[in-house]
């Protein structure tokens, strides 16, 4: 067991960290709700600098224009990117595009890769992943009402989706739809590529979340597929493999989420310490002199440190032994890191007092928009039951 970080990786981490500090954090005041499109040119300028530095799409293989990092290496970078709400977008490794790129690499035909992956990897277009439906509990992704039927060489999709992140402005959606209703539960659904300009693709609304519908990349859409027809070759992967592909995507996706959350934790921790050290309760008596604040800082450090090692351990396991071998860790970090995230954010806000609930720091943004961390990708309660039942198998007589 060796916890040391190789020099080349440490340099990448340092460069990334500096770039976030110098080029990305100054853009944060641009991100009030609903201002994504209006400020896109500023973000594009930062993206160009990332390309120039050779840091573009760190998760992608080099043949697709990325850095070709292992998952563990990318995890370290992802933590740095997560320190700003804009970080992953600027480096073109933001969800859901990052997952869609993975699916296209793994399951796309050469034609699909040429048409969809290439511009996505280049940052020329955006995409979305359309799975969750308002009529079904998100905790059970095998329950879907959206259907796709094949006739005359084309798929016809009908259905209702919501929480399709970043659909507003996306060039295409990867849609989970039931293609084989009579198959076994886990083999009913397939994934299909649906360009958003297809007739029948209806963007109902960006859902107002925590007070605002957002816009562009920073939004979550309600969609309807109204007899929406795409050619037969828009099937992505094998017919009936939709659920399986979605599952495979979860492992690396979990690392992305958790390291991003740990980046948020790192920034919130910094802000908390900075505020504590500089805010004076009375002359020369800083907030940092209060034992409660000290306690929050110590506990946050310990919790972040431990949760971070658990996440890195899972990334390493995926790299070394594959997703299946890592499935317990993948489940555990989901709820464990989300819990740490919420506690650290809460403490950081409390240390800031009234300032903490204003938009003068990114804390209030994360407080609102990461409340979902315990809900999306399946509520934490479900993950706990699933992992416990798996563990308990070894004890059952």
């Amino acid at each position: 067991m060796d916890f040391s970080i190789p020099d080349h990786l440490q340099r990448l981490i340092d460069t990334t960290r500096a770039f976030i500090d110098d080029e990305v954090i100054p853009l944060e005041p641009l991100i009030p709700e609903g201002a994504f499109q209006a400020n896109l040119h500023r973000l594009e300028a930062a993206r160009q600098k990332v390309r120039d530095l050779g840091l573009w799409a760190p998760h992608l293989p080099q043949r697709w224009g990325g850095m070709g990092l292992s998952l563990l290496e990318f995890a370290f970078l992802s933590e740095q990117l997560g320190r700003s709400p804009l970080g992953h977008f600027v480096f073109n490794c933001q969800a859901p595009d990052v997952g869609n790129m993975e699916i296209l690499i793994e399951h796309g035909t050469p034609e699909q890769q040429e048409r969809w992956l290439k511009p996505l990897a280049a940052g020329a277009i955006r995409s979305c992943f359309s799975m969750t439906e308002p009529e079904h509990a998100g905790s059970n992704p095998t329950q879907l009402s959206t259907t796709a039927t094949l006739d005359g060489g084309a798929w016809t999709l009908n259905g209702h989706k919501w929480f399709t992140t970043a659909a507003d402005g996306a060039a295409f959606a990867i849609v989970m739809a039931v293609t084989d209703p009579d198959a076994p539960e886990h083999a009913r659904a397939s994934q299909l590529i649906v360009p958003t300009d297809t007739p029948g693709f209806e963007h109902v609304r960006n859902i107002p979340i925590m007070g605002h519908p957002g816009d562009g990349y920073a939004s979550h859409a309600e969609l309807r597929y109204n007899a929406c027809r795409v050619p037969q070759d828009h099937l992505l992967g094998a017919r009936g493999a939709g659920f399986l592909i979605a599952q495979q995507r979860l492992g690396p996706g979990r690392i992305h989420h958790c390291m991003r959350w740990l980046g948020i934790c790192a920034r919130a921790f910094d802000l908390m310490c900075h505020r504590a050290a500089t805010r004076e309760l009375s002359p020369s008596k800083p907030l940092a002199s209060r034992q409660t604040v000290q306690t929050w800082i110590a506990e946050s450090r310990a919790e972040i440190h431990a949760a971070r090692l658990a996440t890195l351990h899972t990334a390493w396991t995926i790299d070394r032994h594959g997703v299946y071998a890592a499935r317990e860790g993948i489940s555990l970090i989901k709820f464990h890191v989300a819990d740490v995230l919420q506690r650290v954010l809460d403490r950081a806000i409390q240390v800031h007092g009234a300032l903490g609930i204003t938009d003068d720091t990114p804390l209030a943004w994360w407080y609102r928009h990461e409340r979902g961390a315990r809900i999306y990708d399946g509520p934490d309660e479900v993950h706990k039951s699933v992992v416990a039942r798996r563990i308990l198998k070894d004890y059952t007589p």
Copy 2:
């Protein structure tokens, strides 16, 4: 000790509850951020119905057009009003006006009462209370930089305030300003009435909080007093008594806050139970069948019940024995009820899943806007230290 509720009070509670359900909750979709002014006429219509029902300003003495309830009686009504973010406003007992009315009744001259209290009690104007300053920790309200100097029969105010709730559209502010810088710490400040159309009264901005600056009553302003002059008779209460008056106002104000929070808890609890009982995980297997959801419901009920009795006990003590005798309870319920509030809201959101973070229920509104409950009126950590030091005096050798 007798926990029964007299019939006349129970009838008032029932009437109020029904009015909130039938007339106020249907208005809630009007309250997205920034829409207060645009929808004011709808709220005014509801206010008129309240007047017609004889429920107007339940906290006010009858001579000022109110119902003349005791604090304990008002507490029960306040809980019902708190079930909607619009309740207190519709009944004209919303903070900060409710506190300002109390100050004017207790300390205003007949002329001040005629000019300011009368229209305020009638709901014809709004007001604000301008105390907190960005340069000083809110936990120590004796630290103020805003000054008021008396010369030529007028007070000249200079200073910088923020988190002056509802200043946007208010007719006047009650301002805490240092009038006697050389007096003992608690006798330096006075309260002054400053009409908002006074030259030098600068409304800098509504502070963006949790993603939005809000507007009208639903906002928190940053203000500057730039050589703002008001006549000598705008002093409210005795010179140097500003801090004392503010303190006296805290007792009943604490009951108002806590019973409002308990009203939020009651509504969130209802929403949580309703969702649990009606959301199906699979056919005929509702979310309510999950033990974790049951645990949250049971714990929420127990915590709300106990916190509610503690708050009512404090209201009763103020009515019976005065604010001084009740000061321990007043401190305790601040942090205790705020803590229950946060936990109940968090559970209610989690039970709603993705729906819980949308604006389709009021939960996300409260989640954002009541995060401040642990901060405003002094951070909970300060209250804990204060009350503990008072208790510990009895044990000190």
Copy 3:
């Protein structure tokens, strides 16, 4: 709603408190594990003083030699008694005798009352209640294997019980046994009086709990009923009513437990404050100056205060409206007060440092012996589910 305490009750409370302080707490060093019998004469001397003061058996009707208090009045006294592990015993209102007295008053025949209740009320004998079985989860008291069959004018009991509190030295047991195996689930069991000198009554052992088996009243026995025969008239209450009687007993019994726990909380709180105020970290810098200690004191006070009102409210509801009307409160306080108890004890120990885990204070005793508070009378998790399901009925479509 009126929270005032009548003068006559306040005097009783004060007298009881003083007696505990002056006469009972000094006896506490006598209570190391296994020393009950050896020190019984000291406890009997204290009991005689209680009789002389007219405070004997405060829960009992006057015709049985008690004070005839209402449940609410007794609750206040019980809190005072709970401040010492010896309090309830010295006043002859200790579990399980207190519950057995209630059953005998309510359901005993005149002959049973004369033979068993009279000496029990007088403190001349002790008793036990034999329900829990090692083979069945305590959370489901309808599952019992112990049987009693009637033939030849006598009941023959066979079965295995454990956690029969205070069986060691008891004169008789009230035993729950299945008499009607084919009846509906809740009508299968009856209660029978079994003198402990009946042949076949086997005291297997006092179960070693938290390091010690204890002795006499302070023990929890494993028992076997080996073809143990008692006359037909030893049936207590109606045949098949065993479960119902046990249920009825739970309401007042819950108040007894919770007020005793609140008495423990009160004492632990006192000890914590005293220690904080007198232990010096360095010259003239007491432990009480630490914010974390202040926080624990403030939170403990708030939690104890709220939980206490909830318990008193439930006692009042039972007095006024009966056990059935109070059943929600009865369930809620079980887990709510047990939770407060555990937190307060934990904080009090931590404030004492190494001293807190020694036997120089009663804290370590309670820490060990009240860990069971979340387990006995049914684990808290079961109570939470039960009360939640009852609440959810009102929301089910």
Copy 4:
């Protein structure tokens, strides 16, 4: 970063684990309180098997008869040993002897090593470490009243100590005493070797802790040094270096504690899962089917996993970069792992129900005797303040 465990280490871990399961856990019923000496021969027999297997004293250099493991390697073994309360003793790496061996290796003269270290390493004698004093807060180890004065070629010790673990039956104590009262605070104390048969060495009592004084190795003594004289050459290390040596000892000692706690966690987790999987609530419906139990199992696994990696990371840092570089981790794991330990034990007991508080499992033992984990080595609250203040230095303007 590489989380893999080398084969040779994995074999050692497996062997150790099997030995604990097969040879040590069966001895646990021998450990009721006060039975150490009476059963010592059984433990000695197990020790001989350990020697025969070549697993003796894994932490010691080979020249002293140990296995010569690195701290990280020993950490893995220590976790296995911690699965039984008897594990470390049987492998002769129990506190406080393990720390005393380290001090003697690092600071002892050849003569001291020959006389004290050799038999200690061989398991022929035991020792104790005598630092804490009842008159001073354990959180500040520079405050000591025990003195040692040098005259006539001998040191005369006077003082009062308590919580001197395992003094009962020890051959010698390493005593912290003030030798230079006028030196700077951290240079006042020295360490001295005091044979326990020295006149004036008074074993006052084994302190009753959690209901029992214990005996032999399993005890914590109160001691008095009454003009206790030892030769000048019994000074251990440099004069005035007592505090420094104690500090150095803390780093590895912290790893020992934390990995032992993690071993307890592992065993408690196993017991919890086994109980959940095998205890039936009703026919074929095991306790494991309850969501609350599943939640506890999942959360325990996540917390143990993360805390374990944090501890291993600290051990690795000490091995690679030294104690000073690892000091933040050393502070963090103290309170973090102790917190996890307490939570896991609490859940495991609750899952066992009434059985959990009996002595039929080791859970109740650990519940009692590891409550001190948050107190000994300095209360957690102090560690939190210390580590936070160190972190905050980087943020102070």
